[in-house]
Amino acid sequence: MKILVSFAIEPEIERLVGDDWLVENGLEIDTGFLKPMLNSYDESALAMALKLVQESRNRPNPMVLTAFTIAAKGAGPILRTLNALPFDQIVHVDHRSDIRFAPRTVAAILSQYVQNHAHQDVLILGQQTSIGANAKTPLLVAEMLGWPYIAGVIRIASADSNQLEVICQVAGGRLRQQIETPCVLSIGDAPNTFLRVPTLKDRMHLGQRPITEMPMDLFDLPRETEVLTNLEIIQHRRSAVSLVGQDPEEIAQKLFDQHLKDTAIFRSDLDRR
């Protein structure tokens, strides 16, 4: 079974503070000085796929696992880490354009890769990126390929030699199901799915294996149907009155007296408890 995880590499935007959040030319925010990282959904996707494939290693027909990304600069260390974990193959489509808000482009490249370059049985994508947050890419891939799509996946396991079983978090509960391949899985909020850290020895031996590089011009790129016209920083500000005191007891008493006592919640006539 061939499994491919498609992931994004994004700057660590939670390191931006205060004045760093600044829009230039209405469309850009300078993040060039931030470390690149994997967003939480993609990390879950990669970790879950890795675990699944490692568990299948000793079976007949072991799975083959590819990590696939469309990224510009800064990708090197992350790709080498994935190589060392190990993923069987790393594919890097080198792009220079702005794909923050380009789900059709990303979906088209991934779909064409699967159709024209390397057939896959299962495509796994994180639900959305931090920056673009379009939550569309996995859906567009499913539509472009005409494959079934499963959302909110939080666990993937082998059912038997050729089947996979997934658990999805949906409203009201969880659904466990065996899936038909080929299919597209979108990873949701999956607790305790962190990528492990490769050892130095693995990084030296496996991490240096060649990565498949593919230029963008191998792919037909569609026009995006939604075009960014403006960015505006969202500010949340409240009065931020500071409460201080000699000790926690004094602070707590002030908090209660000045801010809680007279609210509807604490007035006895409206006390529900």
Binding site: V17, G74, V197, L200
Partner: protein
């Protein structure tokens, strides 16, 4: 005659009152260790003898009474303020120890811009003191990574150093006067004068004593004028550590004193700067102070580095952003704990110092040996962060997965063998095994090798000031040698 636990607690309550004596089991366990044993502690394993009590002292008088009592009854005392120590210095190595916690003595007593000094009690947090100074245009210039949580008593007791030391110096250059209490309960005050040649400089008996000689209750430090608006940030990538050391040396030898002068190797650099230094070493400088000096320093460093073709400049904004996020804060520490528990992967460090002529060789041999001899490493790197006229330090950083062993074996399987390699190679080459964290309890094995014939002087201090052996036993001096 050894006192029983309950007797110790009862006497302490008599001396300082029930409210200041803590015997809660969780607090006691937590007080038996410091960051050195954090992996096992996170797992709820506490291998050190649990102390009899934690005494929260509120005055020098409290300290004097508690020490006198402990001295008379040969009870081990561990002085503590911020609880941020990293080398086991706070471990309660003997049964029924008393942890004397000065964090409640947290008043800033005096800020004196005329004489450029500030006086504060031992439990004052460095962050708080520095924030107050910055409000009026001054700074202590002391900026260790533990700044948000460390307190003055511990910072002086460990001979700590901050990230801006290349310009401001280490704590030993910043202390003006002190107050300390010795085991017999005697309170000693060293006055604030600019310099004195009335015999040896006795401040240095106290600075760096790691609680093995006395309890520091009050500190006066120099303050400096603060000009953050003049800060200049410089960064470079380069191929070789050797070149990096040469550049650092040249900057220092020419007489320039940037506040920050750091050299990262490829691995350590990748951890912090992968977005611009993939596969390269990194050199970082920060120049600060009055504008003419900050600019002259930065310009001169640019000229010096320009003489080395392999150095590529990096946008200052990247350095500025990295610098703004350096220090530990409580949120980062909580995150660290969660990550360690999830990944079973932990980072530890060993810091040494050596003269220019030998530092690169020490780096090479330590890296090679650790890489070959230690299993399950996921990162091994190092950086130089404090430079002097005649040499520099090396901060070895290593991450490893804790594999196939219980949490209580993590130190013996990984950290201690790594430390052994680094300490032995450094001493062999002629460097010092401890640059700024203190000996603690886990480098005591090599203390005589570190000092050679001058160990005589160190040993005499212990015998003179702590004849009954009650001050933080197991620190600096190995236990069995008492």
């Amino acid at each position: 005659m050894t006192l029983a636990r309950q007797e110790i607690v009862a006497k302490l309550i008599e001396l300082v009152g029930k409210d200041q004596v803590v015997t809660d089991e969780t607090v006691l366990q937590d007080s038996s260790v410091d960051r050195f044993r954090r992996f096992e502690a996170f797992h709820g394993i506490f291998q050190m003898p649990v102390p009899a009590a934690v005494v929260q002292v509120k005055s020098t008088q409290d300290v004097a009474e508690v020490l006198a009592f402990a001295n008379a009854n040969k009870v081990n005392v561990v002085p503590r303020t911020g609880h941020s120590a990293t080398e086991g210095g706070l471990e309660t190595a003997l049964e029924n120890s008393i942890v004397v916690d000065g964090s409640g003595m947290n008043k800033v007593l005096n800020i004196d811009p005329t004489n450029m000094q500030a006086t504060a009690q031992c439990g004052t947090s460095l962050q708080e003191l520095d924030d107050r100074l910055r409000e009026i245009g001054y700074t202590t210039g002391h900026s260790p990574q533990s700044k948000p949580i460390a307190q003055l008593g511990g910072l002086v007791a460990t001979r700590s150093i901050g990230q801006l030391s290349t310009m401001y110096g280490g704590i030993e250059d910043m202390v003006v006067g002190l107050e300390a209490v010795f085991p017999d309960g005697g309170v000693t005050r060293i006055k604030n004068v600019p310099r004195r040649a009335a015999g040896p400089d006795i401040r240095h008996v106290i600075i760096g004593n790691e609680g093995a000689l006395c309890f520091i209750t009050e500190v006066t430090v120099k303050i400096f004028k603060y000009f953050p608006e003049n800060n200049r940030f410089l960064g470079y990538t380069l191929d070789n550590m050797k070149t990096g050391f040469e550049i650092l040396r040249e900057v220092m030898v020419q007489g320039y004193r940037p506040s920050v002068a750091r050299l990262y190797d490829v691995e350590d650099g990748a951890y912090h700067f992968s977005h611009f230094a993939d596969g390269k070493c990194v050199l970082i400088f920060v120049a600060e102070g009055v504008k003419p000096i900050a600019d002259a320093t930065a310009n001169a460093i640019e000229d010096i580095v320009a003489g080395y073709a392999e150095c590529e400049p990096v946008a200052p904004k990247l350095i500025e952003n990295w610098f703004a996020n350096l220090n530990w804060d409580p949120a980062k520490l909580a995150e660290e704990k969660a990550e360690i528990m999830e990944t079973k992967n932990i980072c530890n460090t060993t810091e040494i110092s050596a003269n220019w002529g030998i530092i690169h060789d020490i780096y090479e041999v330590c890296m090679q040996r650790v890489r070959e001899e230690i299993p399950d490493l996921t990162l091994l790197g190092g950086h130089s962060s404090h430079s002097y006229l005649n040499g520099t330090n090396l901060y070895f950083v290593y991450f490893y997965n804790v594999v196939d062993c219980g949490p209580e074996e993590e130190l013996t399987k990984y950290h201690l063998p790594i430390k052994k390699i680094i300490v032995e190679e450094t001493i062999k080459a002629g460097g010092s095994m401890c640059h700024h964290h203190g000996v603690g309890k886990h480098r005591t094995h090599w203390i005589e090798a570190e000092y050679e014939s001058s160990y005589y002087i160190l040993k005499q201090l212990k015998q003179a000031f702590d004849p009954n052996g009650i001050m933080n036993m197991g620190t600096i001096f190995p236990l069995e040698k008492q």
